[in-house]
Subunit: 159 residues, 2 copies
């Protein structure tokens, strides 16, 4: 489990290694990791929370990198489609992936107070779900779990 979102840590290093991992993967796969896309990922990495596309756009604008919604959505689509970021449907928001470039089945723990999001990994073929799909002849291509609840910090504050 990746609990980094809920714990303090060396955040600068965290951004740096995230970017480097993706840069390396893109080089290997001949994907264009353009300044715009790189910056979008940096923006997401800078927070350990999900950010709305328009929030990302605001940051991009300040940096003089695109100012209209499609610019942000396209950069985010690139990141999501290659697994460098995830979309948290529940929040209509995006978050940098904790395991970029590695094939995985993510689950998200979303704090309903502060919106912090932690990414956990599930086994690709989850028991009951896989069985249920098999029984009906449904072919699962991708599965995402979103859990809502309280992060340790907010749980502490709430009592």
């Amino acid at each position: 489990m990746d609990n980094i979102a809920f714990a303090s840590h060396d955040h600068r290093a965290c951004i740096k290694t995230g970017i480097e991992a993706v840069a390396k993967y893109c080089a290997a796969q001949k994907l264009q990791f353009t300044p715009l896309r790189r910056r979008a990922l940096e923006i997401l990495l800078h927070e350990h929370r999900a950010m709305g596309a328009y929030d990302v756009l605001d940051h991009l604008r300040r940096d003089g990198l695109g100012s209209q919604p499609p610019v942000a959505y396209r950069a985010l689509d690139f990141l999501v489609s290659h697994g460098f970021a995830h979309k948290i449907e529940r929040l209509n928001a995006f978050i940098a992936c904790a395991r970029p470039g590695q094939d995985h089945t993510p689950a998200f723990l979303i704090c309903r107070i502060c919106d912090a999001v932690a990414e956990a990994q599930l086994e690709p073929s989850r028991g009951m779900l896989g069985r249920a799909a098999e029984e009906t002849g449904f072919t699962i291509e991708q599965a995402v779990t979103e859990a809502i609840g309280l992060c340790p910090n907010c749980a502490k504050d709430i009592q």
Copy 2:
């Protein structure tokens, strides 16, 4: 697993028993199952697919039951908050619950071609996710899984 969404069946009975189960539950819990809310549920039950709030609103309008978005959203909120319907975040859409009134942890099998949705049940405390949450001190209040893929009908057509 509830595979009814992918198989032919007596649909009229299906709507009737769905409404009756909810009506009974509401009576027992002293919830107001008003004509508007009942109609909204009927609309959802009529399809075994997720419907957008504005689609539901269109139907309500035709029936002379409210014509503005908040009317539909409030009826849907009522249904969702009491577990009579679910929101499919991935589709920004709503679907009648297959197990109304019963406490459950749903998973959805969403066909990416025809948008049909089947509801499966998972054990509330899923192995890896529960463990991951425990490790970080995250308290899960609710978890939803959405699986994207191909329903048997569309899988057949696609080759």
